[in-house]
């Protein structure tokens, strides 16, 4: 931030040669040349669009006829639309259940992987749990749609073998919701697990040894020692998991297209449908803004709450 300061101050010794003037000019040229693709690109493809979203949300526009001022109509419309309300409630419910499962499973398995295992076995488990992250959510959902098929799916075959009758997984509301949650958590818990493994590795072993001398074991060791010490990681993992889960789309789209009825319709699905199927771009933008507000509010709330439980060493 010091364009006015002579270049020679960069080299403190008097003997150092002063930077030639043309070098300073070419350095300034380099700065702008190197920044333009990224800064210009982000301005064009992220900042301008977010600003445009705010404007579009107040218009009625089907892309064919010219846009028409709509005031708050789009927002009133989505607030009173049963399907949109349902989609947002579905999304919020999904986030609560899926994130709780994702973090719970990830933390439990991370603690087990970290404890008392030879390191080669640790890396085997870590790789196994990490693997689903490299697959596409669309492909995974295709596979899971077959596994949960009510007539010939492997899941029902296994249930039948232990005496449980067929479950109508994808053709009933509650079944479809359960499958979407399962598929999402199946693919996502590995990421939280990686974060937790990092957090657990930073707890000094002496802490555990001291705790053991004091008789802290099992559950009390978990709540009194592990949990407070990884609370900063827990905050990061929760914030990231909630942001990602609020944007769920691929899995319910491939598995159910939002059905049966509206039972697996999500907020992002409404953006897609309003915008790109019904050509109501103003309405799609308004839904997008509400979702963004939800993401920001959820993140802010977690940081606020974290003051009570996060313990920084």
């Amino acid at each position: 931030m010091t364009t006015t300061i002579p270049a020679s101050t960069a080299a403190p010794t008097a003997a150092a040669p002063a930077e030639p003037a043309h070098d300073r000019r070419s350095e300034r040229l380099l700065v702008w040349l190197f920044l333009v693709p990224t800064v210009g690109g982000l301005a064009l493809f992220t900042l301008l669009p977010i600003a445009a979203s705010f404007v579009l949300a107040f218009f009625r526009w089907d892309i064919i006829t010219s846009p028409e001022w709509a005031g708050l109509h789009n927002f009133g419309d989505i607030a009173s639309d049963v399907t949109v309300r349902r989609a947002f409630l579905n999304t919020i419910g999904f986030v609560i259940v899926a994130v709780a499962l994702q973090l719970g499973i990830a933390l439990w398995l991370a603690i087990l992987v970290q404890s008392r295992l030879p390191s080669w076995l640790q890396s085997v488990f870590r790789s196994a749990f990490f693997f689903p992250l490299v697959l596409s959510a669309a492909s995974v959902s295709l596979v899971m749609a077959y596994l949960f098929n009510a007539d010939f799916g492997l899941v029902n075959s296994i249930l039948n073998a232990v005496g449980i009758p067929d479950v109508q997984w994808l053709s009933t509301g509650s079944g479809a919701v359960a499958v979407v949650i399962f598929v999402y958590v199946w693919q996502s818990f590995g990421f939280s697990l990686l974060l937790f493994l990092g957090g657990l590795a930073s707890i000094p072993t002496e802490v555990y040894e001291a705790a053991e001398l004091d008789g802290a074991k099992g559950w009390s060791r978990f709540t009194k020692i592990t949990l407070p010490l990884i609370s900063p990681t827990l905050l990061v993992a929760t914030v990231m998991a909630v942001i990602a889960a609020l944007q769920i789309f691929d899995q319910p789209w491939v598995l159910t297209r939002g059905g049966p009825g509206d039972s697996t319709r999500t907020a992002v699905m409404m953006i897609y449908q309003s915008g790109f199927q019904e050509l109501q771009f103003g309405r799609a933008s308004a839904i997008g803004l509400v979702l963004t507000a939800l993401i920001l509010a959820a993140t802010a709330a977690q940081f606020r709450l974290s003051r009570r439980y996060v313990f920084y060493q």
């Binding site: 010091t2 700065v31 190197f34 990224t38 493809f45 977010i50 579009l56 196994a128 596409s136 897609y272």
Partner: protein, 262 residues
């Protein structure tokens, strides 16, 4: 630590979790090579090529992902270097702005980006997928962090030897940035090879479909008829991702968890 015997319960829980995690993948592989009513056979793999244009889909995916990967590595290296190494007015503000774009969810900008693409005359082209994905805030952040770990003395020495700013970047710092660039490239590959939402919106005609979109279409067209065919397609599309997993797992893990304090 001294060798402590693992708890049996621990091993059982981890083994069950591993079976649940890898089970669907193994089932996919087995089912792809045992088509309906036949024993072991690779016929489903032939069927995929008959029923959808796998060559086209693969080429599209490779082109889109490849150019995004290269574009991100190149632009992130340039911007990351400038933010890490050079002083200029407004640096803090610009870098803050770059970081702020990471908070904007993709779905919120998708409508205006679609309009923009349309205005640029790029509707229903592969460029519609590539161009908006090249500028990368996260990649720039990673590269900045990486360049900051390299000693500034290298550049000072080069400039005393008479190298200009471009030469200092190109011959001194850029070659040292390879490990950081690998992380950016692997992350970009993993994300865009598997991407579904943007292709669903931007690729209108089938000749511009990418693999995930093509496979979902295949399932939709055939309904429940040919499980093995769809699964064979899934297996084929997984291969590059698995290769990256095998060779880049550590880098991928580092990248995904980068910037997050332990």
């Amino acid at each position: 630590m001294t060798a402590r015997r693992p708890h049996v319960g621990t091993l059982v829980v981890l083994a069950v979790a591993t079976v649940l995690t890898l089970g669907p993948v193994v089932w996919t592989l087995v089912r792809a090579v045992t088509p309906e009513g036949q024993g072991f056979s690779f016929s489903a793999f032939g069927d995929v090529f008959d029923q959808i244009d796998m060559v086209r889909l693969t080429l599209n995916s490779a082109l889109v992902t490849g150019l995004i990967v290269l574009g991100q590595m190149f632009t992130a290296a340039l911007a990351g270097y400038v933010f890490a190494r050079l002083e200029f007015r407004g640096r803090g503000l610009l870098f803050g702005l770059v970081l702020a774009t990471m908070m904007v969810p993709l779905q919120v900008t998708i409508v205006p980006v679609f309009m923009l693409i349309r205005g640029m005359g790029l509707s229903d082209t592969l460029l519609a997928l590539i161009l908006p994905a090249v500028p990368t805030a996260f990649g720039t952040f990673l590269m900045r962090q990486y360049f900051m770990t390299l000693p500034p003395e290298l550049g000072e020495a080069a400039s005393i030897d008479g190298a200009g700013p471009f030469r200092t970047f190109w011959s001194v710092y850029a070659p040292l940035a390879a490990p950081g660039l690998a992380v950016v490239g692997i992350l970009a590959f993993n994300y865009h090879w598997n991407e579904f939402f943007r292709p669903l919106i931007f690729s209108i005609s089938e000749e511009n479909y990418t693999l995930p979109l093509g496979l979902v279409t295949l399932q939709g067209n055939l309904g429940s008829g040919s499980v093995s065919t769809v699964l064979a397609g899934v297996v084929l599309s997984m291969i590059p991702a698995v290769v990256v997993f095998v060779f880049g797992q550590r880098r991928l893990r580092e990248g995904l968890t980068a910037g997050i304090g332990k």
